[in-house]
């Protein structure tokens, strides 16, 4: 689904509490969120439970989404990630509500989507497929360096140095 189309649906949810619009958002994003949790090694039950929480948040906080700051996909990814962080911390004494803090930072962030988009375009052109894959495995799927080494059949030291080199390569576009 195109971002513009999704923005309209989210607006309908925010302004009119439109359930049909929400069902379309659900059909588009819920399978991705569920797949993300399964990729991150959560059980089927845990993945669905968290997916439900993310969708409830999208329903309740639709008016917080600001299309000038980010794409819908990025906003929903950050909600999914925040739920995962709080899920892992749930068993510990809960000192900080990470989700609240991250909502607060999102609202206070002054970067705009257009500027970010052009930076990402430059970075994406600069990185080769292997480097993108490493970033994805390490930061998106949160695999340990050890697991990445085993999966790609390369030495652990090589994984570490390649990730570092990739981050350094991104650096010049991050100023």
């Amino acid at each position: 689904m195109e971002n513009a189309q999704i923005i309209d649906l989210v607006k309908k949810v925010a302004k009119e509490r439109n359930k049909i619009a929400f069902s379309e958002i659900f059909d588009f994003i819920a399978p991705k969120i569920n797949a993300y949790y399964l990729k991150n090694n959560l059980s089927i039950d845990q993945a669905e439970e968290l997916t439900q929480e993310v969708l409830s948040t999208i329903w309740l906080k639709a008016e917080l989404f600001n299309p000038e700051k980010s794409k819908f996909i990025t906003w929903s990814f950050t909600i999914a990630r925040n739920k995962k962080i709080d899920f892992y911390r749930k068993n510990k004494k809960n000192d900080i509500n990470e989700e609240d803090i991250r909502d607060f930072l999102y609202e206070n962030n002054k970067s705009d989507d257009y500027e970010i988009e052009s930076t990402i375009k430059n970075i994406t052109q600069e990185l080769d497929e292997n480097q993108k894959k490493l970033i994805k495995m390490s930061f998106f799927e949160q695999k340990s360096h050890k697991n990445i080494a085993a999966e790609l059949e390369i030495p652990l030291g090589t994984v570490k140095s390649r990730i570092r080199a990739t981050l350094n390569k991104m650096q010049k576009y991050l100023l």
């Binding site: 929400f22 659900f26 399978p31 797949a35 911390r89 900080i96 607060f104 970010i116 981050l167």
Partner: protein, 209 residues
């Protein structure tokens, strides 16, 4: 030492959600005070979200969209949503109970269940910390005022990362002093005239942690 790379590692770690509570709190304050760092996080969030977009979906089996529709009453209206991340945890920084370490230098340990320890440091105008280095890494973020050392001047929103290779002698700004948030992975090592006494002090102090 490439400090920028280390700062980016912190930022990327924050974005992917794999930092502990201490570093997460520290980084959220950094993002709150430093718009360049906040932009970097947005960029990395967007990059990770691209993976999310390309992900082949797996339909949830047990939940339907109607299960996710909640009454807006379930939002906690009393939740503290206007303050910065640190204030939420410890309240107003002007009201905290500082502990004096030596004249002009106070600290406040932030209670968190994490291996890294986080504390606030308050230095009166012109106060210096004797020349020292660090066993583990130390991250310092200026929350208010400024300090300078052999490596430069650090103002509100600036971060300094120190390790074994760095020996420094920070001095707080003469007019405003300085309030910093710091994470230490291990105790510092002091040098110079009072070095051995201060090292002994931190050694003894470690028994009472």
């Amino acid at each position: 030492m490439n400090t920028t790379a280390q700062k980016n590692e912190l930022i990327f770690g924050y974005s992917s959600g794999n930092l502990g509570e201490a570093k997460s709190l520290f980084t959220s304050m950094y993002l709150y005070l430093n718009s360049i760092a906040a932009k970097k996080v947005s960029i990395f969030d967007n990059m990770l979200a691209q993976n999310f977009n390309e992900l082949e979906g797996i339909n949830p089996k047990k939940i339907k969209y109607t299960d996710c529709i909640k009454s807006s009453d379930s939002i906690d209206k009393n939740k503290n949503t206007s303050n910065n991340p640190l204030n939420r945890l410890i309240g107003d920084i002007n009201n905290i109970d500082w502990k004096t370490v030596y004249k002009g230098f106070k600290e406040f340990k932030i209670p968190l269940s994490d291996n890294d320890s986080v504390k606030l440091i308050k230095m009166d105008p012109g106060t210096s910390v004797p020349l020292h280095s660090h066993n583990g890494k130390e991250y310092i973020l200026v929350l208010d005022g400024s300090f300078c050392d052999e490596y430069g001047e650090y103002n509100k929103g600036d971060m300094q990362i120190n390790d074994q290779q760095i020996k420094h002698n920070p001095t707080a700004n003469n007019s405003n002093g300085c309030i910093c948030l710091s994470i230490t992975e291990n105790d510092v090592v002091f040098f110079g005239k009072f070095g051995s006494a201060l090292n002994l002090f931190t050694f003894i102090k470690s028994f009472f942690k």
